[in-house]
Amino acid sequence: MLKGLKKAALARSLWIYHVAASPCNNCDIEILDLLTPRFDVERFGLLLTGSPRHADLLLVTGMVNKKVLDRVLRVYAQTPKPCVVAAFGSCAISGDLFVDSYNFAGPLDKHIPVDVYIGGCPPKPEAMILGVMRAIEKLKKLKDL
């Protein structure tokens, strides 16, 4: 029962930390759009936090390059578990038009476990809300945390 409570509470209160792994800033601006009154994700208990120590949901934007990879891994290690990772935008999912770049370190899911993929360049706020809903559904289906 305690586990159920823990899971239900986590699914209803995902706090976002925004990991900018060398993005072009477009995704980042769209994330800020998501937090505006028009879309109001606080309805679902989502809040933006300033520290990975408080976060449950890491939104990783941008093409992960060799220089920033170390930082992404460190932020992931600093986030208290259980946490959810979202690959945000085409760059984090696949590398998009930077696949052939000399410093491309591979798609995000090669380095840390990714739970949701939110596609688009940049994703629309509706797509982000859908992605977060998928993360919540996935959390609810998990057997153990």
């Binding site: 239900a8 509470a9 209160s13 009154p37 309805r43 936090t49 300033g50 520290s51 408080h54 945390l145």
Partner: protein
């Protein structure tokens, strides 16, 4: 004052102490978030959101940063929680059962109020994070800024009532005469105490020590999991306690013996104070620490001293 030990523990842990205060405090944070959302034309979080947040944090990992002394880093929030529990118990018991108050409880309340910032400063400066340390130093300056006006505001009502130092007696005075708020000196004292409490809670425009966008949560930056839950709970309980504090000392308490129906309506007074705090929070930008110091040491201090002088001449 003859109470058995069992009753003391019941008061402290269940009603009106820890359990009651934490539930009402978490509901207060919901009111805060909902009113904020409505101000911004949003829908806002559901009623149980603060409870979800709390239980979620209880289920997460806790990190102790490298180089941080474990006992202080993890112990400080617990001391804060304990002091706020005792504080709310003392305040609520002295209003619910005025005869059970003890001599000098006003001074105990002041000391317990001072505990919260001290504990935050201890925890943040032990976390070995430079940004947390910056938050701690700001919290310290802010504490120095608002403590003096707060003391003057309380001295005002003590002088006004003719030197009463028991919360029960102060309430009795307000019931036989009038609430302090309805006199010139009391109103000035209320305004300055109100602004001090806004700073004590760390709310905009005085959230300089936490400043999410600037120093990423400052004093709470390194806390995670259950310890962060305790910090958030302490904050929520402090929220409720502050509203009760202002109601008891300036507005005749939430319960008075003269009015039967008033018992229920009286609980709306702390709620009204909270809504006022939230509205100020939502309509003001954050000050810099030097601006906050100047604000408290010039405007608020002058206000509270003016109130004190008015009280000494009997207005």
């Amino acid at each position: 004052m003859n109470m058995s030990v069992g009753w003391v523990f019941f008061y402290l842990l269940v009603f009106p102490g820890f359990l009651f205060t934490s539930v009402v405090g978490l509901l207060y944070t919901w009111v805060d978030r909902k009113v904020t959302a409505r101000v911004q034309f949003r829908v806002g979080p559901p009623l149980l959101q603060p409870f979800f947040d709390f239980f979620k944090l209880l289920g997460k990992d806790t990190f102790v940063p490298e180089g941080a002394p474990r006992s202080i880093f993890l112990g400080a929030p617990l001391i804060g929680l304990a002091s706020v529990s005792v504080l709310s118990t003392v305040l609520l018991v002295s209003n619910l059962f005025p005869r059970q108050a003890f001599a000098g409880d006003l001074i105990v309340v002041l000391y317990l109020f001072a505990f919260v910032p001290i504990v935050l400063i201890l925890g943040a400066s032990s976390s070995s994070n430079p940004i947390s340390a910056l938050g701690a130093s700001r919290e310290m300056s802010l504490y120095l800024a608002y403590e003096l006006p707060l003391l003057f505001a309380l001295a005002t009502i003590v002088v006004k009532s003719g030197g009463l130092l028991k919360i029960g007696d102060l309430l009795q005075w307000q019931w036989t005469n009038h609430p302090f708020l309805y006199s010139a000196s009391g109103a000035l004292a209320f305004v300055s105490a109100f602004l001090c409490m806004q700073a004590k809670l760390g709310f905009v425009p005085f959230d300089i020590a936490e400043a999410e966008q600037e120093i990423m949560g400052g004093i709470t930056l390194e806390y995670s999991g259950p310890v962060l839950a305790i910090l958030k709970l302490t904050k929520a309980m402090l929220y409720f306690t502050v509203s009760i504090f202002l109601t008891i000392f300036f507005w005749g308490g939430f319960r008075s013996p003269r009015h039967g129906w008033y018992h229920i309506l009286g609980w709306l007074k702390p709620l009204a104070i909270i809504v006022l705090i939230i509205l100020i929070k939502n309509t003001n930008p954050r000050l810099r620490i030097d601006q906050a110091l100047r604000f408290f040491w010039s405007i608020v201090l002058v206000l509270s001293i003016a109130g004190f002088i008015l009280a000494s001449v009997g207005l």
